[in-house]
């Protein structure tokens, strides 16, 4: 059988630089799924974009052939004239991109953008195109295709936008679909559903799929063939069972080791709970969204509803949930960056046995003192460091604000903190752009440590990083927690990350804590359907454990579709019940 797409000895370079993709060859058979795996900078994205020649202007294909053999005969996409290539793009080869939020034009309706494909390649327009688009919308899971047709992307959630992207790719019934990290920007339950959808569509239409991803769990769930890339070269390639079952190349093995996973069951350790550093009591937060006209009532958004959390000193409390679950709001309230609704309070105990202080009821000096004690590590290390400040300035700024130490002392402390996070003090005079993502996150951690805090709030500190770097940052966080006796409030959407670092996990959905337990208990005896869905949706790099889509669908739907015992609506909310010591579930009794 001739492969549908054969990439032979492909090299791509930018400008006059060294090639970033060198001598890459692989082949995809009709109906087959090939996964291109690698970390950022591995050249996997450039490779997949080179197939349709959607590359930045300074990039050129230096050598190689890209043989595409649909039924109409073989062509070399690398050498094809642009005009002929346009007839292939979106027609026989379609593409899905990483960021559904930005990959659709904000000013055109979904219907317009999707039916355009039919207009370009099938010469259909008007009612006929619309009918076909509506069919596709229904197929990819829009509950109301007519409404989706007339909607703008910004009215849709990330998952729905990605479904629209998939519909756009599928409406022309391509022979080959190239998906560039299609689920990286999505919540884990949404990811499971989107992956399931792509699989179903593939079985229905018999198209081939090239899936670009950094997640071995996704690979295990989707791929028949795997190509592992590193620094522009192929490290290992072969059948998925072989590569995932017995990785031959050390780099592949390294990827495996770095992939976070939910640990095996261990004995639940009893937790001493008397010395709490931070306590959230009945914290609610309601935002009022301005109604679109004066005649309609304002829309109330309950970001947090009656959240009770307690963080023992020296421990890590993790809040897990999808975007919009209220986890970040809870963290902001804990830091005093936002005021809770009346009735809620946040208590902080600077030292063991000291009287608790109410974070939201402080005078100026007490507030400054609290801010020295509680610091934050942000999600995106690329935008949380000012590009115009040297590392030294960025690190010393907190000390300057709180007027601590002389210039020399500050400098010494900055150097010491860099050493703490595994960087060298020679880097003090550099600017952030000279650092990699992982190094930048180390810098953010160093900055948070400058004031010698006792509490760190980490807001998804690893979600913008590659797996192997994520592993290092988590190790660093664990290390400094134990060394400096810090307590962490850890916000994440990734259960596997949390499983590793947390002593206690609170799962949030729609502003409510739905289940709370130590990770060992939570992961091996989850009670709540949403927790079960989260765990089931976590892709595992093992082909024997595919994602159980039924379980995901059961818990990831809206709370009124949950089983009777767990169901809640805006009016009726079950309370958080203690089912075992240390294990709480929100359910009706």
């Amino acid at each position: 059988m001739t492969p549908l797409l054969a990439v032979e000895d492909l090299s791509v370079g930018f400008g006059r630089g060294e090639p970033v993709v060198r001598g890459v060859s692989f082949a995809v058979n009709p109906g087959e799924t090939l996964a291109l795996v690698g970390e950022s900078g591995s050249g996997k994205t450039v490779t997949c974009r080179a197939i349709l020649r959607i590359l930045p202007r300074s990039a050129q294909i230096r050598s190689g052939r890209i043989l595409f053999s649909p039924q109409s005969g073989t062509v070399d996409l690398a050498a094809m004239p642009r005009r002929a290539l346009r007839a292939v793009r979106g027609n026989t080869v379609a593409m899905i991109f990483q960021e559904p939020m930005r990959s659709l034009s904000p000013l055109h309706t979904l219907g317009n953008q999707v039916s355009e494909v039919l207009c370009l390649h099938r010469n259909k327009s008007g009612a006929e195109a619309k009918r076909q688009v509506l069919d596709t919308f229904a197929r990819v899971g829009f509950p109301d295709p007519e409404r989706a047709f007339a909607s703008y992307p910004f009215e849709m959630s990330g998952g729905m936008r990605q479904r629209a992207m998939i519909a756009m790719a599928m409406v022309g019934k391509p022979d080959l679909l190239i998906a560039d990290e299609p689920t990286t920007a999505l919540d884990v339950t949404t990811q499971a559903q989107v992956l399931g959808l792509i699989r179903e569509l593939q079985e229905e239409t018999g198209m081939a799929l090239i899936l670009v991803t950094h997640d071995l769990g996704v690979v295990a769930n989707m791929a028949e063939q795997v190509v592992v890339m590193h620094k522009g070269r192929i490290m290992e390639a072969g059948r998925a069972e072989a590569v995932l079952g017995a990785p031959a190349h050390p780099y592949t093995r390294q990827l495996f080791d770095a992939a976070p996973s939910i640990p095996e069951a261990t004995e639940a350790s009893a937790q001493p709970r008397e010395d709490l550093i931070l306590e959230l009591k009945g914290v609610s937060k309601t935002y009022t969204m301005r109604a679109k006209s004066a005649w309609k009532p304002e829309v109330l958004i309950h970001a947090c509803r009656g959240v009770d959390l307690a963080l023992p000193r020296g421990r890590t409390l993790a809040i897990v949930g999808e975007s919009g679950s209220g986890k970040t709001t809870a963290a902001r309230i804990a830091l005093g960056a936002e005021k809770p609704d009346a009735g809620g309070e946040v208590l902080f105990r600077p030292e063991k046995g000291s009287a608790p202080i109410a974070v939201h009821d402080l005078n100026r000096e007490a507030r400054a003192a609290f801010q020295r004690q509680a610091q934050m590590v942000f999600q995106d290390p690329y935008s949380s460091l000012s590009p115009r400040m040297r590392i030294l300035e960025a690190l010393c700024e907190p000390l300057e604000i709180h007027d601590i130490g002389s210039k020399g002392e500050r400098r010494d402390r900055a150097a010491a903190m860099l050493a703490q996070v595994g960087l060298s003090s020679e880097m003090l005079m550099r600017y952030p752009h000279a650092f990699s993502g992982g190094q930048r996150q180390r810098l953010s951690i160093a900055r948070a440590l400058m004031l010698n805090p006792s509490l760190l709030v980490c807001d998804e500190p690893t979600s913008a990083l590659d797996v192997s770097v994520q592993e290092q940052i988590l190790t660093l966080l664990e290390d400094i927690r134990d060394r400096l006796g810090l307590s962490y409030l850890f916000i994440s959407h990734d259960l596997a990350v949390v499983a590793r670092i947390a002593d206690e996990v609170a799962v949030m959905r729609q502003g409510l804590v739905v289940e709370q337990a130590p990770p060992e208990v939570l992961f091996h005896n989850p009670r709540h359907p949403y927790t079960r869905a989260l765990i089931a949706a976590q892709p595992v790099p093992d082909m024997a454990c595919p994602i159980n889509l039924k379980l995901v669908a059961l818990g990831a739907g809206s709370p009124d579709s949950w089983p009777e015992a767990f169901r809640f609506s805006n009016a009726v909310v079950p309370s958080l019940m203690q089912v075992d010591p240390g294990h709480k579930v929100r359910c009706h009794v």
Partner: protein, 342 residues
């Protein structure tokens, strides 16, 4: 329907703003000590011409200049009756020009619509030139097309308008037989509208439009180019390419649509800056626009004339921003559906 409601709402706020502006204008005009008539009276008294003094005193009474400032303001706008009943801006009485000794409406007359005409022509010129050049410069960025359009653009920005006016004047007249000065042939002045007059006005418009519009067009072009370049890097552009669109179609349908917003939003700023910016040009070119009138009125403290001209410019500005706001709502669904539930 939503649009209509928004337009009505916007019109309402515009009227309110206009009211506030009128108060500000009146206060500012009256900030320098004295007024045209008291200056005149003082001058007449010092030269001993008592006959004129009586006339000036009469005028002061006639136009309520002897009353407190807030009353003067209300009379000027037309909220309370003056010596001759309600006759303010709202009633269509623009007041009396002391320096010209004629009603303001008579002095301003033609200049009003000529100002509108010249500036609309200039705005049209700005958009017609900036749109294609800006898009082209962005689409062919870092090529000779981009560099040469940038060069011409900077030249346009850097050349003083009046200098450009003089140069164009000379060469336009010499090589293309374009008319010099004014906005129409002197023989048509004061004549009723005719095809011949329209033709003459259009011919006379060429040089002023070019002169007033050049720097605006250059600035606008650079802005559009920068916006377009930003948009061209966005992922939705890649999506469009991956669909198999031709570059030209893609460019017009997607990035241009998005980059167009600031372009439209500029209408409001463009109008007033041109009216005030074109004063010098109008003087040099001898255009009978409102600019030179404003200049003399301000110098002589001719308060009703100055006030009216300033109000007119403010009205133009507010109309411009209103038009651009309504257009933006039409163009951008993100603004249109703000607050609509997903």
């Amino acid at each position: 329907m939503l649009i209509l409601r928004y337009a009505i709402y916007r019109f309402g706020t515009m009227l309110l703003t206009l009211l506030v502006v009128s108060a500000l204008i009146f206060v500012i005009i009256n900030l320098p000590p004295g007024d045209f008539l008291s200056n005149q009276i003082a001058e007449l008294k010092s030269t001993g011409q008592s006959a004129g003094v009586a006339k000036a005193e009469f005028l002061r009474k006639e136009y309520a200049l002897d009353r407190p400032l807030w009353q003067q303001y209300l009379i000027w706008v037309g909220f309370i009756p003056g010596p001759h009943g309600f006759s303010g801006l709202i009633q269509g009485d623009f007041g009396w020009s002391f320096s010209a000794e004629r009603p303001v409406a008579e002095i301003v007359g033609d200049a009003l619509w000529l100002t509108v005409l010249v500036n609309l022509a200039a705005v049209g010129f700005v958009y017609l030139v900036a749109l294609p050049l800006g898009v082209l410069a962005a689409a062919r960025s870092r090529t000779w097309v981009d560099y040469s359009s940038a060069f011409v653009g900077y030249l346009g920005l850097a050349t003083p308008n009046f200098l450009l006016a003089l140069i164009l004047f000379y060469y336009g007249h010499r090589y293309m037989n374009l008319p010099i000065g004014g906005l129409m042939d002197p023989s048509f002045e004061g004549q009723p509208m005719s095809w011949e007059k329209v033709r003459s006005i259009l011919l006379h418009l060429i040089v002023p439009t070019f002169v007033i519009g050049t720097s605006g067009a250059a600035a606008m072009m650079q802005r559009l180019r920068a916006n377009m370049l930003d948009e061209l890097g966005k992922p939705y552009v890649e999506t469009a390419i991956a669909k198999g669109m031709s570059p030209q179609r893609m460019l017009v349908k997607y990035p241009l649509r998005v980059a167009f917003n600031p372009f439209v939003a500029d209408i409001g700023n463009l109008l007033p800056s041109m009216v005030s910016g074109s004063v010098l040009v109008s003087v040099v070119l001898g255009l009978q626009t409102i600019g030179p009138i404003l200049l003399t009125a301000l110098k002589t403290q001719d308060q009703f004339l100055a006030g009216f001209v300033l109000m007119f410019v403010a009205l133009l500005t507010l109309l411009g921003t209103m038009i651009s706001d309504v257009l933006l709502v039409l163009l951008d669904p993100r603004i249109r559906y703000e607050g609509r539930e997903a």
